[in-house]
Symmetry: C2
Amino acid sequence: MFRRNQDENSLVQRIERGFAEKQAGNRMTLKLGLGDDAALFAPRSGYETILTCDWFLEGTHFLRDKHPADAVGWKCLARSVSDIAAMGGQPRCFLLSLALPKSHTGRWLDEFLHGLRRAARRFCCLLAGGDTTRREEILINVTVVGEVREGRAVLRSGAKPGDVILASGRLGEAELGLQLLRRGETLAGRKDPALKKHLYPEPRLTLGRWLAEKRLATAMMDLSDGLSSDLPRLCAASGVGARIEEAQLPLVSASGNKRPQGFDWLHLALDGGDDYELLFTVAKSKVGSLPDFFERIPLTAIGVITKDRALLLTGKRGLEQPLANAGWDPFRR
Amino acid sequence: MFRRNQDENSLVQRIERGFAEKQAGNRMTLKLGLGDDAALFAPRSGYETILTCDWFLEGTHFLRDKHPADAVGWKCLARSVSDIAAMGGQPRCFLLSLALPKSHTGRWLDEFLHGLRRAARRFCCLLAGGDTTRREEILINVTVVGEVREGRAVLRSGAKPGDVILASGRLGEAELGLQLLRRGETLAGRKDPALKKHLYPEPRLTLGRWLAEKRLATAMMDLSDGLSSDLPRLCAASGVGARIEEAQLPLVSASGNKRPQGFDWLHLALDGGDDYELLFTVAKSKVGSLPDFFERIPLTAIGVITKDRALLLTGKRGLEQPLANAGWDPFRR
């Protein structure tokens, strides 16, 4: 855990100072955070604890010269919080492991902490501790601890044949944002919705909790690596297959906003990562009780769970083809 | 969290297979581990949850060509479990974040997992999930979740002037082991107690729990960076100072075992890292009830807590000098 030293301006002191004040009034479950060997978390009775962690590494998950430090801070927390949303839970606290070059312990760190603090406030997630070290590359690992009412967590394994498959939001929007960033969009472009989605994703916490509490979703996960990689995981966990309808996919091009030219929208929707939307299944009899929009986020039926374990994509002309798994996989590259 | 893919031999599948069987009968508190967005942990009523995480990075914390993969697997878990011991708690489960070069997903990974599994069994700590990615350097981050009876955790902040300062074990032994390893000791040398301590440290779980349950320790932490770095942290948290007696330090040279020549034993004891012994304080009136050995581990009174916030070392001839903070600090190197 964080190792304080006697230098008042050390990395740990600066991280802790940045969070100490904002957290003071919000200690329902976090009984002892910064400054000891470990943190103490008092789980509420009747709740289960959710645990998740994710890498966020320079060169793999973000680029030092392309991604603003503020966005790195926001996103490293947002993507782990998204796993909590995908179980129908609420985040409570997080541990931050940070390795930095000495050159980045000044302004870069300030901006990083600014983005991280904003995210922590937004997601009601307190900094409980972490570990720091020096390194030539920027390495981040975030563990988020959340809670869900006992027995209410929505797993990947509950999908049944006949269930309708739904997705929140527009698929491929974050990947579009990444491609715009690579093309050299300026920071002013952060107002572009796709760039914003890539830099500052919003985990679907309220939607996930609502689906869990109303017992609407039979299975759920978040879309982090792209539909064509993530749907097979949900199906494998449930022991089922799926048929996706191309015509029903919520493509970015259909959002009504003015969009740049020259993108393969279907490819973005199937294989684009980092959307952090929810992918979930609902019994056919209950689909009617879902709204078209949940807090302005579109909910779209994109296919159906099948008994046959194949994964198929039905094209616009009715032709079926296997859904090729082409999302993000660092070990395939 | 772990992202399974369709390749049966993928990294995640191999990690999960290695742990699945051994864990099957031991699910008291871990309700859902591998294979979903996050893990579900059911805390026992009357217990608080302890959270801690640590980096374990090639080049910083271990050397690819010097440290056996088996020892890397053991130690990456042992050092975080040591933080749980230092609160008087017991580990329950852990998350493993692992970044590996493709060249290390074969034999190296097997040996790493072998050491990790042995440690997990020894510490009764189940693998609950994690994250993997590809990287040219071996990067490890471990989060351990533990439990402690409500109100019984021993913090760093409870030391009072007059309390006696104690340490378990021999100080500097792991640093001696590292120096032997750097000198090129062969793997046969793993039988050397110092090398063994460096490669396969044993967190003082039983001792920590005993001190907490008997309410003997007023403050406690583990010695990870060396006494001269760690004692100031305990004192700062408690708002006190300390006076250490050189003559009382449990030097490695005094252990009775045959020891190599040419080492500065005092320097090793003060500044050597990675011992994972416990440093704790006990009210003067209770010191008499402590045994000299706890399960064969010596417990040694090494000094006293003072009201004056200075940190002093009293030499063998009675001369006092400031205790210079010279332990491990990656940002000072």
